[in-house]
């Protein structure tokens, strides 16, 4: 289908973008458009105004803060895949990026856009919760910092307030001993995932986390996953997946258990 009518503005500064977003009209942010484009074409969303942020160069910036790397919200999946931006994760983010949708989508789709869209099956929603990243958000009343682990509250629903914009992500650096594992079930490469398992074991920083992703809402974070990370232990995995709201014996329960189990087996 074709998108409904909307107005379009491409502000040159963050201030004018925030002004447009904070106005009286039903405005949506257009970043790479790889999720918003389909939603508009399906007419699932019918905003009055699109605010195109592709002219805001400060949202494409990256910086090293010593114990963390800050990536601007407009950094694309393919920039991460190709290693064109600083990497806090010892290659983990690049491996994830390669599995997001398709190259033509990754060339335009952005980190901030993916998180703001908050599809439960999106890779960054799960991965940023796993890495305990922090979202840097700007609105009319200034800057807020929100933990990625609690940013998504439901399907396509986040803690962003009307008029706010994600400007960047602060991602802690993994230590040299860190190992990460990831597995997602999808019908073919690039499809939306039925289940995502993500695990990290970083003893030097005392981080042993797991995330059950591609749920029906928010990612389910297991902050202390030491027991679950011990290979071969099925019971704690099954228990965690049950706690995430999946009933034992269902397809969803089994596929999420398998995703976590395979993520643990792939720790590297």
């Amino acid at each position: 289908m074709k998108a409904p009518r909307f107005d379009y503005e491409k502000p040159k500064t963050l201030e004018s973008a925030l002004e447009l977003l904070g106005g009286n009209r039903d405005a949506r942010v257009l970043a790479g458009g790889q999720s918003l484009g389909p939603l508009l074409n399906f007419r699932m969303t019918q905003p009055d105004l699109l605010v195109d942020i592709s002219g805001l160069s400060e949202l494409a910036e990256t910086r090293d803060e010593g114990d963390a790397v800050v990536l601007g919200a407009r950094v694309t999946h393919s920039a991460i895949e190709d290693g064109r931006v600083p990497d806090p994760s010892r290659g983990f983010l690049a491996r994830i990026a390669r599995g997001i949708a398709y190259r033509a989508v990754r060339n335009r789709g952005t980190l901030g856009g993916s998180l703001a869209h908050a599809d439960p099956a999106a890779d960054w929603v799960t991965v940023m919760a796993l890495l305990d990243a922090t979202l840097i958000v700007r609105g009319g009343s200034g800057e807020r910092r929100l933990p990625a682990a609690s940013f998504v509250t439901g399907p396509l629903t986040t803690r962003l307030r009307t008029g706010e914009l994600i400007v960047g992500l602060r991602i802690p650096k993994l230590s040299s001993q860190a190992r990460t594992g990831y597995f997602k079930f999808n019908r073919k490469p690039g499809e939306f995932a039925d289940a995502i398992g993500a695990v990290i074991d970083d003893p030097q920083r005392g981080v042993r986390r797991a995330v059950i992703g591609a749920t029906e809402g928010a990612p389910f974070v297991i902050p202390d996953a030491a027991e679950l990370l011990r290979s071969g232990s099925e019971a704690p995995i099954s228990k965690a997946v049950t706690s995430a709201g999946f009933h034992a014996g269902t397809y969803e329960h089994r596929v999420h258990c398998a995703a976590i189990k395979r993520a643990v087996a792939r720790l590297q």
Partner: protein, 159 residues
């Protein structure tokens, strides 16, 4: 209506567009460049894939109004391109098309694979092609065609 100025197949284009018009409709309906095909219109089938600033992109979920200053290249813009010539020949030799609807988008992704991933093997070519659907060929000929051009270009780089 919003004014836009961009480059399409090497030529400067100025036009006035409705913000809701996506790039593929703009190319097909306004510029009469009908080589870009539309399939699903939500970014899944890959038929509308073309190059924006040298990288493959979906023209059905890219709005024309957002392409101000962009360098857009459609299948018509590759007539003088030796690599695209090699791909077209290989597609023909390997029966990599039947109805041809997916072919323009398929050639865009194929060209991207050959230039970006010169060491790609069959498994990688198949992974990279996941975003371009073909309902005729079963992909065997398409994969063979791309592998044969990869092979040619590897040879050319060595010599």
């Amino acid at each position: 209506m919003k004014p836009i100025a961009l480059t399409v197949n090497g030529k400067s284009v100025e036009a006035s567009v409705q913000p809701r018009t996506h790039l593929a409709d703009f190319l097909r309906e306004h510029l009469r460049l009908t080589g870009t095909n539309l399939g699903c219109e939500h970014g899944v089938c890959g038929a509308c894939t073309l190059m924006i600033d040298g990288a493959p992109a979906r023209s059905c979920i890219t709005f024309a109004v957002a392409c101000e200053g962009a360098d857009v290249r459609t299948i018509e813009g590759f007539d003088e391109d030796p690599l695209m010539d090699a791909l077209r020949e290989a597609f023909s030799a390997e029966h990599a098309l039947q109805c041809g609807y997916c072919t323009p988008g398929m050639l865009m992704s194929a060209r991207d694979i050959v230039t970006r991933l010169p060491a790609a093997d069959e498994a990688r070519v198949r992974e990279e092609l996941a975003g371009n659907l073909c309902r005729c060929t079963g992909y065997v000929g398409i994969v063979r065609a791309i592998l044969s051009v990869l092979e040619q270009y590897r040879g050319a780089r060595l010599s």
